[in-house]
Amino acid sequence: MNVQKDLFYAQSHEWVKYLDGGRALVGISDHAQSEMGDVAFINLCDEGDALNAGDCLGDIESIKAVSDVYSPVAGTVARVNDELLDDPARLNADPYGAWLIELEDVTENAELMDADAYENYISE
């Protein structure tokens, strides 16, 4: 299972990539997409929504089930990855490239795991 090094991970299997200027990208891990199976539909929150860490940012429907996705950090939704909505297969093919939302005014979350800790977490 691929765990990308420069990201931080939540127990609910989302990743966050901190960018300059208090911004961040959020997506789901390779482990998460593998557990879900082929993704069929994605629903995401709206631009401008204010999220706290742990708030639902949307849901992902695979052929197995519908799963809520939670924001690993607090912030305001600056951009939503609309392209994914038409091509949900990208989430399976490239989970670390297929970001879901971009946040601004991000408050970093110290409780998140780094790559090594997450790798241990999913191998347990």
């Binding site: 557990e35 082929d38 069929a40 539909f41 052929i63 197995k64 089930a65 519908v66 949900p88 297969a89």
Partner: protein, 475 residues
């Protein structure tokens, strides 16, 4: 895929030879006549029979073989039910006939309601909902009407355990409630501490399936009822798993205020393509004034349609799926009170027989005995061999067994949920156990063979993802 019946149509072909008309033709007004012929297939009887017989051979039903689909109670549908429902006195009547001319049909509804009240311990029943999720919806609409009527519009939250059927949160959302999910304990039961911190002034109700979807009877139900009622909320029973407790325990005695039942599961009427279903809603005296309308009541020595005092109104055209009710009543009267209890006892016995025989070959994630169904986790098997729950399910098809429920409940990873029901013989259960053990062996020795299964069916592995992502609904 096979040709559609429409593409087999040839002009002039017929199934029957209609004799020449020997009475004067009625003069139908021109504006009532259609301008073009209806687009119906023209086909000979032999081709018609072959078409549908061949199609039926590509499907799998409970008349073909063992169908252990968890939480769906795919028990055998006795043919005597069909005979009762086919009686001309039931098929030849019209829903708009005056009630005094169809007293027998009303009596069926009245007696069936009485039976269901006795079985569930509820005060009143409506047979109107079309199936399970519709029954859930009916109960929640009634709960909402009750809360508004009692000046409690702020009770907007419905508590749903994480082991619930997906229809529970969906029905709650359909009724405008906000869903609050609570976790289960390691034993698969309601986490009482989580429930205590979830309830409050905003709680409308708790939706609970008991026994739940991991096949466990929640023995804390008395305390659960106290917690929810203590906070001013109501208790709703999802009747999907009633087959485990008929004649043994009653939702009404457990403290539930409202329930729905699935006649097409527990009471042996067909479903899964052979429906339609029927999802009666039941309630205690508190909620009875809000039941859907019309209701059947005894009046002046006969039966009549009435409307409950504060009814939420009609939820389906006419009186529900009436002929399904006839079949369910035939089932209940055939078995009687003792027979229903025995059915539940054997359903639980069969599930435990399978669970104990599969323990060791597969990981049983929850300790102890099960009720009428049980869950296996294939998470370790997948890690070790790459063979998934879906692969094992597909392998079962090649051994004449319908796949169990896969990837549900969501709290168990790589889940297979099996519900054998009471109608299967020991030989059938032994065949399924042997097949599952053989597949476990194959997973270790030749996993690719399982990735390729099934190989004995007309269609092997359809592209499920493509079907969901790009459904083609019209040819």
């Amino acid at each position: 895929m096979s040709e559609l019946i429409f593409s087999k149509s040839r002009p002039g072909r017929r199934c029957t030879v209609i004799p020449k008309c020997d009475v004067p033709k009625a003069d139908i007004p021109h504006e009532l006549l259609r301008e073009t012929a209806p687009g119906l297939p023209e086909i000979a009887e032999v081709d018609l029979v072959r078409h549908y017989t061949n199609l039926s051979r590509r499907a799998f039903g409970v008349d073909n073989g063992f169908y252990p689909l968890g939480s769906c109670t795919m028990k055998y549908n006795p043919k005597v039910n069909e005979e009762a429902a086919a009686l001309r006195s039931f098929t030849g009547i019209h829903p708009l006939q005056p009630p005094e001319s169809v007293q027998g049909a009303l009596q069926v509804m009245g007696v069936l309601s009485d039976c269901l009240r006795e079985i569930t311990g509820m005060n009143a029943i409506s047979l109107q909902p079309a199936a399970g999720a519709h029954g859930e919806f009916a109960a929640l609409v009634m709960i909402k009407a009750y809360l508004l009527d009692h000046g409690q519009p702020d009770r907007t939250k419905l508590i749903v355990p994480d082991s619930a059927h997906g229809t529970n949160p969906a029905s709650a959302a359909m009724c405008g409630f906000e869903v609050v999910n609570i976790p289960s304990t390691a034993d698969g039961l309601v986490d009482l501490d989580a429930l205590k911190s979830a309830v409050g002034d905003d709680t409308a109700a708790l939706m609970l399936t008991n026994p739940n979807t991991v096949g466990k009877f929640d023995t804390n139900i008395g305390e659960i009822a106290d917690i929810v009622h203590g906070a001013g909320g109501l208790l709703y029973y999802d009747g999907a798993n009633l087959n485990a407790i008929m004649g043994i325990a009653r939702p009404g005695d457990m403290g539930f205020d409202a329930i729905h039942l699935n006649l097409h599961k527990t009471f042996s009427t067909p479903h899964g393509g052979g429906g339609p279903g029927s999802g009666p809603v039941g309630c205690n005296a508190k909620l009875a004034p809000y039941l859907p309308s019309p209701a059947v009541t005894v009046k002046d020595g006969g039966y009549a349609f009435t409307s409950p005092e504060k009814s939420v109104g009609m939820l389906k055209s006419f009186y529900g799926n009436f002929l399904v009710c006839v079949k369910a009543l035939a089932y209940i009267l055939t078995l009687g009170a003792d027979g229903l209890r025995e059915a539940s006892e054997n359903a639980v016995l069969n599930a435990n027989y399978m669970q104990e025989n599969l323990r060791g070959a597969y990981d049983v994630p929850f300790p102890g005995h099960c009720m009428h169904e049980f869950v296996l986790s294939l998470e370790l098997l997948k890690k070790e061999t790459g063979v998934t729950a879906a692969d094992i399910a597909k392998g079962l098809i090649d051994r004449g067994v319908h796949p169990p429920t896969m990837y549900f409940p969501l709290i168990v990873h790589e889940a297979l949920m099996l519900e054998p029901t009471e109608t299967e013989s020991r030989e059938t259960l032994d065949h399924a156990i042997a097949a599952l053990k053989e597949l476990r062996q194959m997973a270790a020795e030749s996993p690719q063979a399982l990735h390729d299964a099934p190989v004995t069916t007309p269609v092997g592995r359809p592209d499920e993802t493509a079907a969901v992502r790009n459904p083609v609904l019209r040819a």
